[in-house]
Symmetry: C4
Subunit: 331 residues, 4 copies
């Protein structure tokens, strides 16, 4: 089977992953409307192709928060990579470094931050965190990440409670016994989502700011009002995200929300977007609408499921080739 | 089979109810366009999710016409509950009381008002009525309901004649011999829809007013013009309803008509809506568009069909959980 | 099989008619887009239902060009009724008279005008004609119709050439040997569509006018420009029609063109519409948009195919009942 | 099997061509959205049919760049005709001449320009070219075409790199060993797409102008900006084209881009369009929107696949008949 486009990896993962893992990665909230809308919205955006421009040399490198990456596609934070590949987040870290891009490691990793850092020394990595009821635990995680050379803190803002993903409920989803949410083992006796603090507000950004010198990137913004609040509370960057359609169903597609956020922000902070990226032309559309970079979630997992770090590199390489070609053809 | 969302109850009911009963409950007028549109219209309404708000404590109780209910979802009037569960409306009454919400008992119940009242003493109940050619009969029903502690009168305004529900015609739908429209047994020798009076007009509201001290809620309003007339004729509340798409086909979805009615009413009376509620997020949308409360029709019947009063409680509990989660996630 | 709505007759006809006959009646030009659009366009039009109006007595009779009919639905001209039922147009004439409505007999009938007139003496009938290259032949047809008591002349304006109906080409459609286009036998040695004169223009209305005292109804108008021309050339009525989608594909649905024509005409002549009527509510929509009456084509043929004149009466009776119910429920 | 419309030829070709050839001809870039949109966009354009106009005589001839053709449909440049029929482009040339229309021979022909010219002496032909890295090679091709009596040079502007056609990648598409891109054999040792020069800009039009007296037609324009540039750089005509949806996916359908280009050009050069033409009415729509002529790509290949030059003539004859009928019926 030739892997020609990202859908090929999706088909592979659907076929070969255990159903409970596939369902978990694929899950959307409620009717999965927003999950699917993330993709459909890209299709509604049309190019105006220009011709006869010299496209013999193209530079697709970019910088995010000052760090250069080989092309404007990073790895979004997703949990439980060992469900996709035995080496889990270690493979993800290696693939990201090999492709010279940024990997946002999730709090809900099945490898520790230390293992991730050791797997690919020198790679550009950010750490995604939730704020827990036990603030000391969150604080400890931040300090660990900073000490390990992670270069950004991504605060996920859209998960005061977990969205209702019906298949996970039906499957009674839980990690297999041999996998653990290792980052939290040190801090908590038990790992439960309910450790998340639903009373978190914008003021907690200031608290987070006080803990670390790392730039703070806020993830989960979908409106101009919240974008303005984010800027005012001093974040360094925004990821326009709806958590892959796993939290609020029937909200906007991220690519549709992007323009609103970019306009509100007026260049004061960098804006990224995740959700629904399936082709190089999607990347180009996001950039044309004002994103500095995009992040991929599920496609990274499909790449892992296909062949670990090599599979993820395949995914990134295809996106890179498609992105370059789209730039050339669209003029 | 895990019951995770209301569609699961629908699937169960479709599988296990006798076809003639399923068809009767599912029926829509003509091409069923409006029945289906009630649901599709909710999907077209999109949230603008806000983040980082303190959602650790949420109060979802509300009051309708002065009575507190545990959350803004009541039971709409539907007929013939014994078709769904042997105990019929008695189970419905018990489930509504258990969940501390309002049950609108239909004239076309298969239990008497007295049986319903006795099944769940102290529950909040309204009585739905049609005006019959024999006004004395209608008068008697009103007085019985009032005497039994029903706290509101719901006048259905959209059924001068019964809509054309093709499957019911094909099935030759009629109640099985052991079921009866018991409320009407005392008043009429035979029970026929043609006892309904198609010459009823707005002036009959005054007549109804003269019979009772109960608040009058008018059900079946879809336009600003009729909303204005309802207010002027002194009703206490309006239920925006198209009778579940069983009367006029190709009219508006109720959620689309709601905004128009709310605007016309300008807060002078309470406005509720029924039709198409399938998820907690639908409830939130209806409230965001100005409804004080919503009522569910078919989903209540599916709950009954699944496991009587327990099944209906399951349905209400799922809606309640989903509604609370939607509020939290949408900020 | 209970015949509950017009679709039931369609299903019957599709099942029991010879394929070549079904295909001929069902045919649309090219991709059949306009044929199907005629129906879809009705579905896009929505009612604003009003309630609590006295609908106990409704008068659904109307007058077209001064003649009273029992309800505003007549029989549009269609050819070759013997393909649907052995007695052909004689059955059609009898059913129309029984239901007290108007039947427009086609030039391409398989019974003569004389047979049609004799089958149902006293019925309200109009005669549909094309203008042939041999004007004397057309003149003779007009005089025959007038002498036989036909009370209107319907000039079809949209068939300078026959549209491309692919299935008819594939089937090599032609009448079976025992059927004939009898009206043309006297006038022509052979019956070929190519006898139609593609050079006919508006001036030929004057010529037609000079031949007869009968009112002239022009059929096939879809634009305000042509509606204005029709009025100026002295026709008595207009049928907004696209020939059931059998001539120009990808033109407007008739119900969409109706408003434009009604507005242009400003009440100077009566306006009717055909194409896509499948339910009583469609009739109500057409009337609400300004039509004085509608005409049904294919549904009449399905009625004939089901059970000759009785079947056609069934079709008309269902439409009548549905129309009356729609009026009551829409207020 | 009767060949009634172009879809019949498509079905035939899909059934009888080798899969690798069918896939190559059918291929669109990425998700094939634009390829399919080319067709769907025609369907969204609606006629306003006029009646009672004298359509007994219609002249459907036209002139493109001064040369008369029998009707406004030519053959767009497509590669590798021997994949469809053994005689390849020789058959295409003969069919075009027989139907008295224009054939644009592709650089990527499997016959030489000399063979094409010899196959149908006197036919109206243009030559399509890309500009290669080796300018001398391109120059030589231009001179050969001019010497052989080709009457126009069509410069394809939308292929700095080849679009990503997934099926071709999966199939590992390459010509069978017995076929060759003969035009390029003389000039290059090997034939590779990468010989195309992605640094070509508008200034190269001047270079091309300096090589030949032939009119230059630029193919691949989709925006008003590029249309204006084309006029300013002195081309004689524009073909609005998206390469059959094989280059940029999710750009505009050509018929949608046409109006913008026509408006920008303001009659200074002739404008043609290709992509999505499947019926005579499509031709009429393109002309109504300002095109002087249309060109067909895949349908010509289906005609060849069906029966060589006769099959292609069948395709052209059907389009011609449909176009004439559409003109008559639309008034």
């Amino acid at each position: 089977m030739a892997m020609v486009c990202l859908s090929d990896f999706e088909a592979y993962a659907k076929k070969y992953l255990p159903k409970i893992a596939w369902d978990y990665f694929a899950a959307g909230a409620d009717d999965c409307t927003t999950r699917d809308e993330n993709i459909l919205a890209y299709k509604r955006i049309r190019f105006r192709p220009r011709v006869l421009r010299d496209v013999s040399v193209m530079d697709i490198r970019t910088k995010i928060l000052g760090s250069e990456i080989s092309f404007p596609v990073g790895i979004a934070p997703t949990g439980f990579h060992q469900l996709a590949w035995p080496d889990g987040e270690k493979s993800t870290a290696r693939a990201a470094r090999a492709m010279n891009t940024c990997y946002i490691a999730s709090t809900y990793s099945t490898c520790t931050l230390e293992e991730i850092a050791a797997a690919a020394p020198g790679g550009l990595r950010w750490f995604q965190l939730y704020i827990h009821r036990n603030r000391a635990a969150s604080q400890q995680l931040v300090r660990r990440a900073e000490a390990l050379g992670f270069q950004g803190l991504v605060l996920t803002a859209d998960l005061p409670y977990t969205g209702k993903r019906r298949d996970d409920v039906r499957n009674g989803f839980r990690l297999p016994p041999h996998m653990k949410v290792k980052n939290l083992e040190r801090a908590f006796e038990v790992c439960k989502m309910s450790l998340l603090d639903p009373s978190v507000t914008w003021n907690d950004i200031y608290w987070l700011r006080s803990l670390t010198r790392l730039p703070i990137i806020i993830k989960g913004i979908l409106t101009r009002e919240d974008a303005e609040l984010a800027v005012r509370h001093g974040v360094q960057a925004i990821i326009v995200s709806n958590h892959g359609g796993r939290q609020v169903d029937e909200g906007p597609a991220t690519i549709d929300a992007l323009a609103e956020v970019v306009e509100a922000v007026r260049g004061r902070v960098e804006v990224y977007v995740d959700g629904g990226i399936r082709k190089g032309s999607d990347v180009l559309k996001a950039l044309a609408l004002g994103a500095k970079c995009v992040f991929i979630g599920r496609p990274a997992l499909w790449g892992l499921a296909y062949r670990g770090e090599e599979g993820l590199q395949d995914v990134l390489r295809i996106l890179q080739d498609e992105f370059r070609l789209s730039m050339a053809l669209a003029g």
